[in-house]
């Protein structure tokens, strides 16, 4: 067994008092690369090994404070800078209300950060290939024995001297620990079919799950944003009503509130004679008329009623609203055109309220007057 490579020479002790003694002697003899292994923390060993106090407290402090700072920054950005909303009359930066979350994030950052620092930075874990693991030595010191292990790469390492020291200290067993050659000589390669296979499998599973849940699952019952509901939507066929319509027409003869049926549908002369404008041309009414005219009439008749359509010939251009004929028409006659349309011009009875129609007429009158102003107007 000459090709074995020694990792360390270990000794096993039975009593906690012995291990304290051994730790003191070993560190006094000037060994630096040694370790003590015990199944549970034994009080007084740190002093015997002359270990400096743990510095983890500082990392907890730093991590905790960074947590607090990050929390303040995050909350400030979100609720003061990026999207401030007044809630309950509180100021945007409502510090007392932010304290709970600042506290929670501080604790979270400090505790998780400190543990990770200890495991991965201080201990360099995971380290499952350490030569001490799963040796006879470890099997003893993880149960009820206390062990010392002096590494072979210690500058003062000398097998005979150390064995003698161990015997003097009253060790119950002295065990050499060897490197596991298979592990030492093992070469880690990235391009290994097993590793690549794992990688591909993970990628497929992760992307598949994400795709399925975002694009398929979220549109299935009952995750479908309440899209499927037990109600009839417009245009849907109804099994319940005998006529098969889901939209119910109003009862025969019903009229909407404030909407008297138009009596002069095919009697423009009657309309011209009987209907009169109930509005006076106040600033308010003219403004309303202007808005409605610009919305409903101007695309064809032009902003000033000159028949300069913006529809670029897709619809026949209407005549000017400034003609003598129109200036002579009564308001009731124009109302009739809005109400029922004229030849190709569609009716506007459903889009506009009565008030808006009359206000629009007032505005048309104003437009007409602007081109044919009387001397008294000046």
């Amino acid at each position: 067994m000459t090709d074995k490579k020694l990792y360390s020479l270990t000794a096993v002790f039975d009593k906690p008092d012995d291990i304290i003694n051994a730790a003191e002697k070993v560190s006094d003899s000037g060994y630096t690369k040694y370790d003590i292994n015990t199944p549970y923390p034994v009080h007084g060993l740190d002093g015997a090994m002359k270990l400096p106090p743990s510095k983890l407290g500082y990392s907890a402090l730093v991590l905790g404070l960074s947590g607090t700072f990050a929390a303040v920054l995050m909350i400030y950005f979100m609720s003061v800078y990026d999207y401030p909303i007044v809630i309950g009359g509180k100021p945007f930066f409502a510090l007392p209300a932010f304290v709970p979350i600042m506290f929670e994030i501080t604790v979270l950052a400090a505790s998780i950060g400190t543990v990770l620092t200890m495991l991965f930075f201080f201990f360099k874990f995971p380290n499952n290939s350490h030569p001490l693991l799963e040796t006879d030595y470890m099997k003893l010191v993880s149960v009820d024995k206390y062990g010392v292990s002096i590494q072979a790469d210690d500058p003062k390492f000398n097998e005979d001297e150390i064995s003698k020291l161990y015997n003097d200290l009253g060790a119950s067993k002295i065990l050499p620990v060897y490197w596991d050659l298979e592990e030492v000589l093992y070469e880690h390669k990235i391009v290994e079919p097993k590793f690549l296979g794992m990688l591909a499998l993970t990628a497929i599973i992760v992307s598949g799950t994400v795709y399925f849940s975002l694009n398929k699952l979220m549109f299935m019952e009952p995750f479908s944003w309440m899209m499927e509901q037990e109600k009839l939507s417009p245009q849907q066929k109804s099994e319940f009503f005998s006529d098969g319509y889901s939209m119910r027409p109003p009862v025969e003869g019903a009229i909407a509130r404030g909407d008297l049926p138009y009596q002069f549908a095919d009697k423009p002369e009657m309309a011209a004679k009987i209907l009169s404008n109930p509005l006076v041309s106040s600033e308010e009414n003219l403004l309303l008329g202007k808005t409605k005219y610009n919305i409903y009439c101007s695309p064809c008749h032009g902003y000033f009623g000159e028949g300069d359509s913006r529809l670029r010939g897709q619809f026949p251009n209407p005549p000017s609203l400034h003609s003598q004929k129109l200036r002579d028409w009564t308001d009731g006659r124009i109302y009739h055109v809005i109400e029922v349309g004229q030849n190709v011009m569609p009716a506007y009875n459903t889009q506009m309220t009565n008030n808006e129609k009359w206000a629009t007429i007032l505005y048309i009158r104003a437009l007409q007057r602007s081109l044919n102003a009387k001397e008294s107007d000046l």
Partner: protein
């Protein structure tokens, strides 16, 4: 009366067992096949879990209309159950962190188990706010992440504080628990001969090698974690109580809520831990590790917190009268004599009267009696949350909107399911991980620490 020698610390582990035996006793449940009793127990809890699963599935499919929640009582049973389960969790952290800071050695035998219960209780509790939002799969909006609506969460809302508090609590409890498990994983790794188990334990142990250079940092980290977990556990139930106290509803809007909720949480948590431990120590023969003395100590804490809760009930009444605020006075009279008087008096008799029996040493140390009292305490604490949530909501400022709240079968199905989930997880825990911390127990056995003769 026997005289006690107070100059010597009484050992918390009875009979000075050899250390090797501790390994054997604690790892036995992991190395033997589950017996008949285990299968019987887990079939009961799985049935309960199944009932809960069906009730939840129906609620998801048909909507929350299956619950009793009505217009004034919008919180209903889900929030009652949430507060109840979060409270159960608090005992674990109290045992593992606060008692650790106070150097109470008797905690070692029960700490791991209580921490496990914390984690499972918080997991169970977390279900309720999620299902209460109606469409739990959209709960991602509770987290402040950059989204397409460019909207952020409301940092001034106690409901959001809850999200942060409960998830932090879960994460920190979990890491605390795992850090405690690392040396035990190492011990199991060295023990086991089973190949698959060896792989699992090796991964869990991360290659821990019992080195004193590690133990030193490890103990430091344990202290730091305990130091953080202590204010954390107090903050969690404080924030849960803010859900109520920050509102303006009579009966909720009181400053006594945070301490009162924390005391109540510890109270119910200890009762639950005590109940479960009575079974565990019997079934797995841990009588010398989880001693009668430990149970007695827990009963003392139940007595203390129970008295605090009783004091809080009295104080609420006093302040309602003393403040001279009419709605406040009405709410408390309504609690005690209104339509929910039955719930109120169940709560008072279970929470205030029954734990007072623990003044007698005989009752504190008789297992069947203390078991029954602890069950009462848990029932009472569930009713306390019921009384708080339901009475205040069902009769608020506006008499025209008053309504009586009756939970439905689905509500109870979900409650049963939550117990099923909790106990199923616990049972699996007892068979897969060491329920008592091997390393910690060894460290407090008599003769395991150096005598420091020559120092």
């Amino acid at each position: 009366m026997s005289t006690v020698d107070y100059t010597r610390e009484i050992s918390v582990i009875e009979g000075q067992p050899p250390l090797r035996e501790i390994d054997e006793v604690i790892s036995k449940p992991l190395e033997t096949k589950p017996d008949k009793k285990f299968y019987m127990a887990i079939s009961v809890t799985l049935t309960m879990l199944l009932i809960g699963g069906i009730a939840l599935g129906l609620s998801f499919y048909y909507g929350t209309g299956l619950w009793g929640n009505n217009n004034p009582v919008g919180w209903g049973l889900p929030i009652v159950n949430f507060v109840f389960w979060v409270g159960i969790g608090h005992a674990g952290t109290l045992i593992s962190a606060i008692l650790f800071l106070f150097r109470q050695k008797w905690r070692t035998g029960i700490a791991r188990f209580a921490e496990g219960m914390t984690i499972f209780a918080v997991m169970t509790a977390g279900i309720f706010p999620l299902i209460h939002v109606g469409r739990p799969w959209l709960a991602g909006y509770l987290i402040p992440y950059p989204n397409q609506h460019s909207l952020w969460v409301n940092f001034t809302s106690p409901l959001l504080w809850d999200v942060f508090a409960v998830s932090t609590y879960f994460a920190v409890s979990f890491i605390f628990w795992y850090v405690g498990l690392i040396p035990d994983f190492a011990a199991l790794r060295e023990r086991t001969t089973n190949k698959i188990k060896k792989v699992i334990y090796s991964i869990g142990s991360l290659g821990w090698r019992n080195s004193n250079r590690h133990w030193q940092h490890y103990e430091m980290v344990y202290l730091i974690l305990a130091g953080f977990a202590t204010p954390l556990v107090l903050s969690v139930h404080t924030i849960v109580s803010f859900d109520f106290a920050i509102s303006i509803l009579p009966g909720w809007h009181t400053t006594i809520f945070p301490p009162y909720f924390v005391a109540g949480a510890v109270f119910s948590g200890f009762a639950m831990v005590q109940n479960v431990l009575i079974f565990i120590r019997k079934i797995f023969n841990y009588e010398h590790i989880i001693t009668l003395k430990t149970l007695e100590n827990m009963n003392k804490i139940i007595l203390l917190t129970g008295s605090m809760v009783g004091y809080a009930y009295a104080m609420e009444f006093f302040i309602a009268w003393y403040s001279g605020v009419q709605p406040e006075q009405f709410t408390f009279l309504n609690r005690a004599f209104g339509p929910y008087a039955w719930a109120y008096w169940i709560m008072v008799s279970c929470n205030v009267i029954s734990p007072q029996l623990f003044w007698f040493k005989k009752i504190r140390t008789t297992i069947p009696v203390m078991f029954v009292i602890a069950v009462f305490v848990n029932v009472g604490m569930w009713f306390e949350r019921f009384v708080i949530v339901v009475t205040s909501l069902s009769r608020d400022y506006l008499p025209s909107s008053w309504a009586y709240f009756t939970p439905t079968l689905t509500d109870f199905g979900i409650l049963i399911g939550s117990f099923g989930l909790f106990f199923t997880l616990l049972l699996i825990f007892t068979k897969t991980l060491p329920v008592v911390s091997i390393a910690e127990v060894k460290a407090v056995v008599d003769g395991s620490q150096p005598s420091h003769k020559d120092h």
